[in-house]
């Protein structure tokens, strides 16, 4: 009876987790959804604590207090611009926790009713090995992603000869070890799987460049879900399977959306090495001999003040310069002058899905002013000024015109059809993809060279005079 009750409680908890995701379909229902999520998690924990085998409450409370305290502190202190790295770091913890749980089950299978030491059911062993491998890959992969986003590891793709061969070979060895584990059930083989998966996680993420991180962060999100589902199979727990599948599906869909936003296949991203040095060097040489119109903050202020509508296109550069607050102040000034101001968000702007939306929300930009690519792209031709700040490749007309360009076919924001394009950028260098942006040389483009935040502040000052 007690067993049935706990199973039902897990079911309720699963439904709560579904509701948490369901709530995110709109900003009004999102908070209610979050409450469902928290309730579901609390119910799952309490139900588990009631299970007969769980009795050392002191240790558990200590663990939750230490972990919870650290988590709460980090979450409260973190800057919104550092969100992608935070999420990557959190993914790594899920991965490592999955490894620990699988290892605990391996060393003490009786606690989970999956056999006895040395006599674990074969099915459970396979599930355990899969769970631990995915968990371990998630762990080290996320750490590398974190390092790249934080700037500890180089954001450039790290490629070497035979990389894909090595990864494939490691994958094969992993499969062999899995078979070996099922036959021998040796702890040595188990830890070999863990170690090899750690290695594979590093090697898989290291060749991937900084701007592909939205895909990678989503993919690791997905992996952390599959790892949870794998652990669910091992522990024969439907709650873990359901939630794992939800998270896995969510991450997979986000990866798909991000890939579509770059018009690249998932495998193209995973194989990495996109945007190497060669392209960058070529772009630099062509950049110097064409005329570019360079303007000042005063020029920009004058143009925008006299416009009737402005569309702002933010990119990762805005996040790096922490310019979102200055940008919003500038937009407020413009609105006071009677200018219609809106924001256009490209799906892959920033370093994680929805990154720009959060930053603009942080700066109190009204939700209604922020539009997605499909919603706003047609309006550029009826707009006086497109204000591009910290974005580059997502506005490059080469994606539409030049079949030889590496980004050909990528959906872009049609800023060039606006009356004037104001392009805030630190230098005339090429973007992440190493491609020259011909937009810089258009007649209706004015480059505003400088730090994004300083430029916005300069424009505000110029408008006040």
């Amino acid at each position: 009876m007690a067993m049935t009750l706990s199973l039902l409680a897990y079911l309720v908890s699963s439904v709560c987790c579904i509701m948490a995701l369901r709530g995110l379909s709109g900003p009004n229902t999102a908070k209610g959804g979050l409450m469902f999520g928290i309730a579901g998690m609390a119910l799952a924990v309490v139900t588990t604590l009631m299970l007969p085998g769980v009795s050392s409450y002191g240790t558990i409370i200590l663990g939750v207090a230490v972990g919870g305290g650290i988590g709460a502190l980090i979450a409260k202190k973190i800057e919104m611009t550092a969100l992608p790295q935070l999420v990557a770091a959190f993914h790594s913890l899920v991965g490592l926790a999955a490894v620990f749980i699988a290892a605990a089950a391996f060393h003490n299978p009786e606690a989970y009713n999956i056999g006895t030491r040395g006599e674990i059911h074969i099915g459970s062993l396979i599930e355990m090995a899969l769970g631990v491998a995915i968990g371990a890959i998630t762990f080290t992969g996320s750490i590398i992603a974190f390092g790249k986003l934080q700037g500890i590891v180089t954001g450039k793709p790290v490629v070497f000869k035979g990389q894909h061969m090595l990864n494939a070979a490691l994958g094969c060895v992993l499969l062999l070890l899995l078979v070996l584990l099922c036959v021998t059930e040796s702890p040595l083989v188990f830890w070999a799987i863990v170690f090899l998966s750690f290695l594979l996680g590093v090697l898989m993420i290291i060749p991937i460049g900084g701007a592909d991180m939205p895909v990678i962060v989503s993919m690791l999100n997905s992996y952390s879900g599959w790892a949870a589902a794998g652990i669910g199979f091992t522990l024969q727990n439907n709650l873990l399977i359901i939630v794992g599948a939800l998270v896995g599906a969510s991450g997979a869909i986000l990866s798909y959306i991000m890939c579509k936003g770059m018009n690249r296949s998932f495998f193209n991203v995973i194989l990495g090495g996109f945007g190497g040095e060669a392209g960058g060097a070529a772009a630099a040489s062509t950049a110097s001999d064409k005329p570019v119109k360079i303007g000042s903050a005063e020029d920009a202020a004058f143009i925008m003040k006299n416009a009737s509508s402005v569309i702002i296109v933010p990119g990762y550069g805005m996040a790096v310069a922490q310019a979102q607050h200055a940008l919003r102040e500038m937009a407020d000034q413009l609105k006071k002058e009677g200018v219609k101001v809106r924001y256009a968000i490209h799906p892959v702007a920033g370093r994680m899905p929805g990154h720009m939306n959060v930053l603009l929300a942080e700066a109190n930009v009204p939700y209604e002013d922020v539009l997605e690519l499909e919603e706003i792209n047609r309006d550029f031709s009826q707009t006086d000024v497109a204000f591009v700040i910290g974005a580059n490749d997502i506005t490059n007309p080469a994606a539409k015109k030049d079949p030889a360009s590496p980004i050909y076919g990528m959906p872009i924001l049609d800023v060039e059809s606006a009356g004037t394009v104001l392009f805030v950028k630190r230098s005339l260098g090429s973007g992440y993809a190493g491609i020259d942006n011909e937009l810089f040389f258009y007649d209706n483009t004015m480059m505003l060279l400088g730090d994004a935040k300083a430029m916005c502040e300069g424009i505000i000052r110029a408008m006040e005079h």
């Binding site: 972990g67 089950a105 060393h107 003490n108 599948a245 998270v247």
Partner: protein, 138 residues
């Protein structure tokens, strides 16, 4: 034009919701049937797989309806709920006597707790920002 569009969207949402509830029902059914077949000697794997596949479909339909503006909170909240693996960690850390398995369980409890608290709080912070502006905009 606008009201027409609105009606269309409402209809879309309604069909989506009915699909969702249908799937949730299927899911509930498959779970409620779980105890019986297990007793009849059906391996858990088959039951688990059924639940898994159905949950993937539920996830698929729910996540496609998440508005792109909230993709960052989506990642943060999925990250938090994936820490439901704390259930497994609690079982490992449950016994009174310390051994290797319990130590691993304890560490996993700590890690998962970081995620649960961190993930939910950071999601809350983000959503706070979105709803704050909502009031100002109105």
């Amino acid at each position: 034009m606008d009201s027409h569009k609105l009606a269309e969207q409402a209809a879309g949402v309604a069909t989506g919701a009915s699909q969702l509830s249908q799937q949730a029902q299927d899911l509930a059914l498959s779970i409620s049937q779980y105890a019986a077949p297990e007793a009849a000697g059906m391996p858990f794997f088959v039951v688990g797989l059924t639940v898994f596949v159905l949950a993937c479909f539920v996830g698929y339909y729910v996540v496609w309806r998440v508005t792109p503006a909230l993709h960052s909170p989506l990642m943060a909240v999925t990250n938090a709920i994936s820490s439901v693996i704390i259930v497994g960690a609690l079982i490992a850390a449950g016994p009174e006597d310390w051994n290797f398995s319990k130590l691993l369980g304890f560490l996993a409890v700590v890690l998962a707790s970081v995620n649960i608290f961190g993930g939910f709080i950071v999601t809350h912070r983000m959503l706070q920002m979105f709803s704050k502006k909502k009031k100002q905009g109105a």
